[in-house]
Each structure stands twice: as C-alpha cells, then as structure tokens.
C-alpha cells in the first residue's frame, strides 16, 4: 500500500466505497423483502433497514468528502509494513526475507479465502473427521513448516483427539460427506 492509501488494485477509498455499496444493497434488499411481511412482522426490520440506508449514505458521503489519509488503515496492512520493515532489517543483516513478505496482500487474502473454502469443500465431500485429517496434513505438507513425518504425527494425534472429544466423548453424530454413497458402493 502506498502512503496515499492506494494499493496495486483499488485504492482504500474505492474499497470503502464498494463496502458501502454492498451495505446499501443489503439494506435495500431488506426493505424490499419486508414488503411481503405483515405489519407486525415488519414493524422493526423495516425502520431499521431504512435507518441503515440513511446511515450508510451518510458514511459514504463523509468518507468521500474528507482526505484519504484520514481513512483508517487496516491491521493487515500495518502488519505487512511491519513485516517488510523487519525483513529489510534482517536483509541488511544478511538473511533472506520471509516468503510471506514477497507476496502482495491481495494474494495472501485470496489464499486465506482458499484455505477456508478448501476446508468446507473437504468436509462436504468426505465428511468431518476425514476432512480434519486431510486438511491438516495437506496444510502441513504445503507450508513445508514441518517434515512430512512430523506433520503426519501431529496430524494423526490431532485427528485422534478431535475424534475422541467430539465423536466418542460428546456423542456427536458425524457427517459422512457427499461421497459416502460412492464409498458404500465399493464396500
């Protein structure tokens, strides 16, 4: 992020405006949906949604009428600056910069969304407990933080603990995943 609050893609102000636009769509959607409700059912949601629209418009105007520097910077950007500063110091001392500092923020954000999506996808496909094992093992392997043996040991112990706590002790019926019928066919 540049000192003026601009990233390589959208500026901070543009991002804030996109958020406000999304909020306006949500509040307007609520107003539209409440038209199907009875007077008592919409007694509170309708005025609240209208208030939401008014507040969002005020926020939108306010953030566009003041200087960009006044917009609050997000923590991740601050953390990124700090990481870069630390890495510059470390680089001067002769060590290689951390891999995370090389990537741009949006790439790391995209990776974080991907991590969550991967976990959800795995649970939906193969069920809760196998997904915990596969996800954790894959994370350890892909980040290369541990050797594959250490990663496998940690993953196995962790999955066993999750199983013991949630399934054995708390008697929660596990979800078996969308692929269960396929597995059953080969049994």
């Amino acid at each position: 992020m540049s000192p003026g609050g601009k990233t390589r893609g959208l500026s901070r102000l543009a991002q804030e405006n996109v958020v406000c636009a999304a909020l306006l769509v949500i509040f307007a959607g609520v107003v539209w949906l409440t038209q199907d409700f009875g007077p008592r059912a919409r007694m509170i949601p309708l005025p609240l949604a209208i208030t939401g629209i008014v507040l969002t418009v005020i926020q939108l105007l306010w953030q566009n009428l003041r200087s960009t520097d006044e917009l609050q910077m997000d923590l991740v950007a601050v953390a990124e600056r700090r990481a870069l500063a630390v890495d510059e110091g470390a680089g001067a001392a002769g060590s290689a910069p951390a891999p995370s500092a090389k990537d741009s923020l949006w790439r790391r954000e995209l990776r974080a969304y991907g991590i969550v999506a991967a976990l959800i996808g795995l649970v939906l496909a193969i069920g809760v407990i196998p997904a915990v094992f596969v996800f954790t093992a894959a994370y350890f392997v892909l980040t290369r933080h541990y050797t594959w043996l250490a990663g496998l040991v940690y993953t196995s112990v962790f999955t066993a603990l999750v199983y013991l706590l949630f399934i054995a002790a708390l008697q929660i019926q596990p979800y078996h995943g969308l692929l269960e019928p396929l597995v059953e066919r080969f049994r």
Binding site: A41, M43, L75, A98, V116, I129, T136, Y146, V162, Q171
Partner: protein, 501 residues
C-alpha cells in the same frame, strides 16, 4: 437456617460429591475452551449420567461443569480472540490486546480471580436474597425488560473504535441477522428465501465461530506470524500481577458482581448480555476509559466477575419460583425433576439444605476452577506463541467440527464460513464485529418485549409503567455520560492550553 447451611455443606463433603465436582470442573474447562460449545452443551451432555445418584453429587457434577465453562470461554477469548460462546465475547476486547502485549499470564489470572470473587459474591447474595427477591421480580414486566435491552445497546458507542457511524451500521446489521428465521411473535418466516434450514434462524454460536475464530485464523494465515512473536514481544507479566489486579479493583468487582446478579435474576436476559453490560459499565466508570480496547485489565476483570456472579443470580428465580433464568438453568430444572424435587416456594422450606448445597457448590467449584486455572496459566500463556502454520489448520478444523456440532447440521458449516469472511472484511474496514454481535444478542429481546408491551399497555406503555420510564431516563443518562465526559475533558484541555504560563 444455620442448620441448613451446615447440612448443605456436609452433603457435599462426601467422596462421591467431591469426585463428581472435580470431574465436572475438568470436563467443563475442556468444553468451555472448545469453540461453539458452552455451559448449556456441557450440562445437556451430562444430564443422562446424573440419574440414580445423590442430589448433592448430581448437582455438584452439573453446576461444577457449568461454572467451569465460564472460565474456559474466557481462556480462548483472551489468548486467541476466539470466544468459546457468546458469554466470552467481552473478554476479547481487552484480554486479547493484553496477550499481544505479552501480558497473557496477567490477563488469565485476573480473569480467573475476578470470576472467583464474582462467584463468591453471587453465592453469598443468593443465600441472603432468596426471600427478598420475589417482589422485585414480580414488579418487572416486558416494558422493563425492553428498557434493559435498550440499555445494552448503549455499549455500541464503546465498541465503535473511532467511527460511531460504522459502529451503528454494524449493530443494525446484527439486529437484521437476528431476524432471519421464523418470527417468534407472528410466526412469519423472515429472510429465509424459502429454505427450511433458515427457518430456525442463524445459530448464535455458529455466527460467533465464524465472526471471531474463522476470521482471526484468516488474519493469521495472511500475516504468517504467530499471534505473539516471542522474538518481538516477551511475556512480561506474572500470575501474581493478575491476582493482585483483581484485588486492587475490588470496587469494580463488587459493582460488576451486583450487575451480574441482577441480570442473572431476570429470566431470559442471559450471561452474554451480562458480560457486555459489565464491560460497558467498566469503561463508562473508569478513570482511564481511553485505555479500554487497548489492554485495560479492568476490561478483563469486570466481565468475568459479572459472569461469575450471574450464576448465583440465575439460581434465584430457578429455585424460588421454578422460572429458569436462562437455558442452563432450564436444564437444571430438568435435573431437579429427575431427582424428584419440585422447585418453587417448597425449595425454601422443605429443601433448604439442598439450596445451601448449591450455594456451597457455586463457592467450591469457583475455588477449584480458579486453582486449576491459576495452575495451568503459565502453560496456557505459551499457546499464542505457537507458529501460525500449526495454529491455522488445527483451529480451523476444530471450528469446522464445532460449528457442525452445535446443531448437527452441515449447513451451519457454510454459515460459519460466510460469517468468517464477513468478520474478516468487517475487521479490515473497521466495522465493529462486537457491535454486530450485540445487535444479534439484543434484537430478539427488544422485538419480543416491544410487541408484548404494545399489546398489554398500548402505544403509551411507558406512561403506564413508571419503572420502565425511570429505566428509560437511566438509559438516556448512561448513554450521554461518555459523551459528556469526553466534552468535559476536551474543555478542560482547552482551558489548560489557553491559560497563561
């Protein structure tokens, strides 16, 4: 009465009762730490195992587990900003910043000691107030509950992190999220888009898992460094500092405990509101309100003291009238029925020894939890220094299983993920996640009580209910107080600048 106090203690001092309490406490601590699972789940899962034992042992197991979950919730809020349930939310605001400043031991110890002091105060007042509280509860109706819920909304300004407008928008969103599902008053399905799953509404623990746990792990994955990098921030605090903090702020503990007792006595208000209200009153009455949200130890002590005392308060209407103060107390009622005990006025005459057994359980269980808590604090304080590459997959996995476990519905996993993304974006663009949660907590209470008030007393219900009117004045005054203080401080600063040297 003295005989009943002694008999209540003697019934507890059997090996079976003490063992049951210890099992309950350890089990409760584990459940409390797991995301999404709180005291209600802990008690519900224990219920089938309680039949056929002595009443004191059964209650020691159930109440011990329930009390332990309170501190278990606080642990993850303080260390990872991941509240185990709604109750632990208020602990995130100052506990987590303390952890990041290398004061995790102090925060955990202050939290455990605050909860113990609150629990003891709650138990003492439970013993003293049972005969006195009946007329007070009967004097309050939906209009007064509505005002108390509105008072809860006054904390929004406290959590708005510099932008009141964004804070208000976040709380409005929270209220609207709470309206998803079947309307409790008119039975109208609202914002369900025809899906059967959304008819039950958004599960509160699932939303919390997403908003806080998933989004925090996303932040950690993006940053790639531990929550606390020990090469940059060393652990500088001790357990004794935290214990000392709780005693130094004894007046805050007493005030917060009374607040917890009061909220506990009111049926249906709940400990999640208690924690937030305690945090707000601590911030509003502090001499250094500017430190709140940045690692003020008062912000840790107050919610824990309130939640500790809340249990004693919750027991009052449950025992005296058979009206449960919350979900966990409703489960306790089920246990009473299993034991052949009918709560109500008879409890204060025929089963007074059992009532005092429960008072003793609250005291002893709190002491056991605090001793265990203080003992394991040095080890717990090391957890935030774990590598992000270890934390992210493990915590996300537990979140996924926890979100599914809340209702046993896979759709909740999608809800948790969606709230995770929303939570991350809200944090990035400074829309307070806390305000969204406050909106969610108070929405149903406000809507239900407003409808009932209008039906019972008409549009001028405030004129019919003087207590509600007095509470409304109180709400306005406490809302204005932070602004007045800030204005006064600015004026003083201006005067000081303008004064000749």
């Amino acid at each position: 009465m003295l005989e009943a106090i002694v008999a209540g203690l003697v019934a507890l001092l059997t090996p079976q009762a003490l063992l049951f309490m210890l099992i309950g406490v350890v089990y409760g601590l584990v459940i409390g730490i797991l995301p999404g699972l709180g005291g209600v789940v802990a008690m519900a899962l224990l219920l089938p195992f309680t039949y056929g034992f002595e009443p004191a042992a059964t209650l020691a197991l159930l109440l011990g587990a329930h009390i332990a979950t309170i501190w278990g919730d606080s642990v993850t809020s303080i260390l990872f900003s991941v509240p185990g349930s709604a109750k632990g939310l208020a602990l995130c605001f100052d506990g987590y910043p303390m952890t990041k400043q290398g004061k995790a031991r102090r925060a955990l110890a202050a939290s455990a000691t605050g909860a113990l002091m609150g629990g003891v105060i709650g138990a003492i007042f439970l013993a003293l107030c049972i005969p006195l509280i009946r007329p007070v509860i009967l004097a309050l109706g939906p209009s007064e509950y509505l005002m108390m819920a509105l008072w809860g909304l006054t904390v929004i300004a406290t959590f708005s992190e510099g932008s009141l407008m964004k804070g208000l928008i976040a709380s409005l969103l929270g209220v609207l999220v709470a309206f998803i599902g079947t309307d409790v008053v008119t039975a109208t399905p609202r914002f369900t888009f025809g899906t059967e799953f959304l008819m039950d509404g958004i599960s509160f623990p699932v939303a919390m898992i997403g908003l806080f746990a998933v989004s925090e792990m996303m932040k950690l994955a993006i940053r790639g460094t531990p929550i606390v990098d020990r090469t940059l921030v060393e652990e500088v605090s001790t357990v004794w500092q935290g214990i000392g903090d709780a005693f130094t702020h004894w007046w805050l503990v007493v005030r917060s405990s009374f607040l917890g007792l009061w909220i506990g006595v009111l049926p249906g208000v709940g400990a999640s509101v208690a924690g937030l209200a305690a945090y707000a009153q601590a911030a509003q009455t502090s001499k250094t309100p500017e430190l709140f949200g940045k690692g003020a130890v008062e912000g840790v002590i107050a919610p824990d003291a309130t939640m500790g005392a809340n249990e004693g308060g919750g027991l009052m209407p449950t025992l005296a009238f058979g009206i449960p103060g919350g979900e966990s107390m409703a489960l306790l009622l089920v246990a009473f029925i299993g034991l052949g005990i009918v709560p109500g006025p008879d409890m204060l005459t025929k089963h007074l020894d059992l009532v005092f057994s429960m008072v003793w359980i609250v005291v002893i269980a709190n002491i056991v939890v605090t001793l265990i808590g203080l003992g394991i604090t040095p080890w717990l304080a090391r957890l935030p220094a774990l590598q992000a590459n270890l934390m992210v997959p493990m915590v996300l996995s537990v979140c996924a299983v926890g979100a599914y476990a809340v209702r046993g519905r896979i759709e909740d996993l999608l809800i948790a993920a969606a709230f995770g993304v929303v939570g991350y974006l809200m944090d990035k663009y400074r829309y307070s996640r806390a305000n969204l949660v406050i909106g969610m907590v108070l929405a149903t209470m406000i809507e239900r009580n407003l409808h009932i008030s209008l039906t019972l007393h008409g549009n001028d219900f405030l004129l019919d209910r003087p207590i509600a009117l007095a509470l409304l004045v109180f709400v306005i005054l406490t809302s204005a107080l932070p602004f007045l203080r800030s204005w006064h401080r600015r004026r003083k600063a201006l005067h000081a600048k303008g004064a000749p040297a």
